[in-house]
């Protein structure tokens, strides 16, 4: 079986986010960009399934500008077999992204599509569920364990109540949570090898996808800052302060 993994280029998680003074967005010029950390976990899971003999091919897919090929190269260096770059300079929102993945799934017929549970830029957490909806496939979001057994998958999900297990027929869409696995470290020879792996570039119109009416961002602002309070020296001072506020009895 084939596995498609959706990946996104995002501002690196170590970067301190700065809102532009004119409210038009956050500063991305000259800022380090990386593969979305949850997507790295998604790739790792696909590779482990392949290495266990349950899949033959792992295809990394991204949507975005030319620079996103860097992240596809990272996915290929980790071990993906090939990559598809849906090239566009427009900002693509989840519903359109899901339509693009649907078109690719129609073409590639994967048995499993894995995404990170959310991208750390928009924090939407939508594309996986939307693809499952449009394809009328099962979804298993926020996965912390995936066990493939012939035509089904047993997926353990991290939910607010604890851990939930679903059994789903394949093809299915899974989104990866933090504790699914620990992504491998990419070694230099793998980076060299990845340069020879194929990346197909297609456009949204090649795929016959209609861009959905999206949400309009009117402005971007910095959040209200919490003021640092006071340092107390002793537990007695702390207890007095909390009692004054009526927070403890």
């Amino acid at each position: 079986m084939k596995i498609i993994v959706g990946v996104k280029r995002v501002v690196d998680y170590n970067v301190r986010i700065q809102v532009k003074p004119d409210g038009s967005g956050v500063v991305t010029d000259g800022v380090k960009m990386s593969l979305n950390p949850f997507d790295e976990i998604a790739i790792e899971e696909a590779l482990r399934i392949k290495e266990s003999g349950k899949a033959e091919e792992v295809i990394a897919v991204t949507i975005g500008a030319k620079a996103c090929q860097e992240q596809l190269r990272t996915a290929l260096a980790m071990g993906a077999d090939r990559a598809i770059h849906v090239e566009t300079d427009e900002g693509i929102q989840p519903l359109t992204a899901a339509r693009i993945f649907k078109a690719l799934c129609d073409k590639e017929a994967p048995k499993l599509v894995i995404f990170g549970k959310q991208a750390i830029d928009d924090d939407n957490s939508q594309t996986a569920q939307m693809l499952a909806a449009l394809s009328h496939w099962p979804q298993a979001t926020f996965a912390s364990e995936v066990v493939i057994d012939a035509d089904t998958a047993s997926v353990t999900r991290e939910v607010d109540a604890g851990l939930e297990t679903l059994s789903v027929d394949l093809p299915a869409v899974v989104s990866a949570d933090l504790r699914l696995n620990e992504p491998r470290y990419v070694k230099l020879p793998d980076i060299m090898k990845a340069k020879r792996k194929p990346i197909d570039t297609v456009s949204i119109s090649d795929l016959g996808v209609e861009v959905a009416a999206g949400i309009k961002v009117l402005k971007t602002t910095a959040p209200a800052k919490r003021q640092a309070g006071i340092m107390v020296e002793t537990v007695e001072q702390l207890v007095v302060a909390l009692k004054e506020k009526g927070l403890i009895k």
Partner: protein, 313 residues
Amino acid sequence: MNKVLVIAEHDGSNLNGSTARAISCAKDIQAESIDIVVLAADGSSVAEQAAALAGVNKVLLVQNPANEHPVAAFLAPQIESLATDYTHVLAPSTTFGKDLMPRIAAHLGVPQISDIMRVESATIFDRPVYAGNAIITVEAPAGIIVGTVRTASYPVAENGGSASIENREVSVELPSHTRFVSVSTGGGEERPDLQAAATVVSGGRGVGSEENFKVIYGLADKLGAAVGASRAAVDVGFIPNDHQVGQTGKIIAPDLYMAFGISGAIQHLAGIKDAGTIVAVNKDADAPIFEVADFGLVGDLFQVIEDLEKALA
């Protein structure tokens, strides 16, 4: 005129408090009516709790054995068939709502607004991005508005309502491709719910071990508090994942948050920004948690907890 439908989150017997927070958000839309839909196998008790929330006009009760557990693939088609009577469909931004709502939005062919934290008008909302390090104001296009509500931004809607409860038959075909197997909780159900508790006592990597976490539980029990944890503490196995507070765990807004041995990574702070008062205890005076704490104390957390328990006795 705007009509809002809120999806009830529940466990079959109790309405989850996040639903009442979503109602508070719905009220800001200035709608003509706010309805709640309860999808359950046997939901009469949950429906009664929903009907008691002030500001709710009607509770729709959709009973079906398939609704015993909240499986998005089953709930979504049922909700879609009801959604066309409404201008807005909302759910709390918990793992329940996050899993379910995009499935509904995609079928309706509309975008979703995730984590609504403020309503500016019926079509304009604020939501956080970059782990809450920026806030965007967004306008929804024409069509039904599907959204999830950032529960930490809204108070629990009060009781005192007496909405009518209406049984609804929804005849849609449900898929057979998904089977619920089991759910296991991390234990500690006798303690208050992390997302609803007025006080939360939280531990980080500095607690040192699963065994040592007993002191965190001990203090929490003394205060009638819920127990939280940083991602670092969960990742090393000191405490189960359902206690995790932060961007990828639970986003909470208790009146009092007490952090022991938590350094204060950005992703953890994103989960506690709306807490009323933050107390931080850490042996490292340079820990970033002190930059957001109302009261900071540099010291050994075990000694501090021992002294606190004595002072509270």
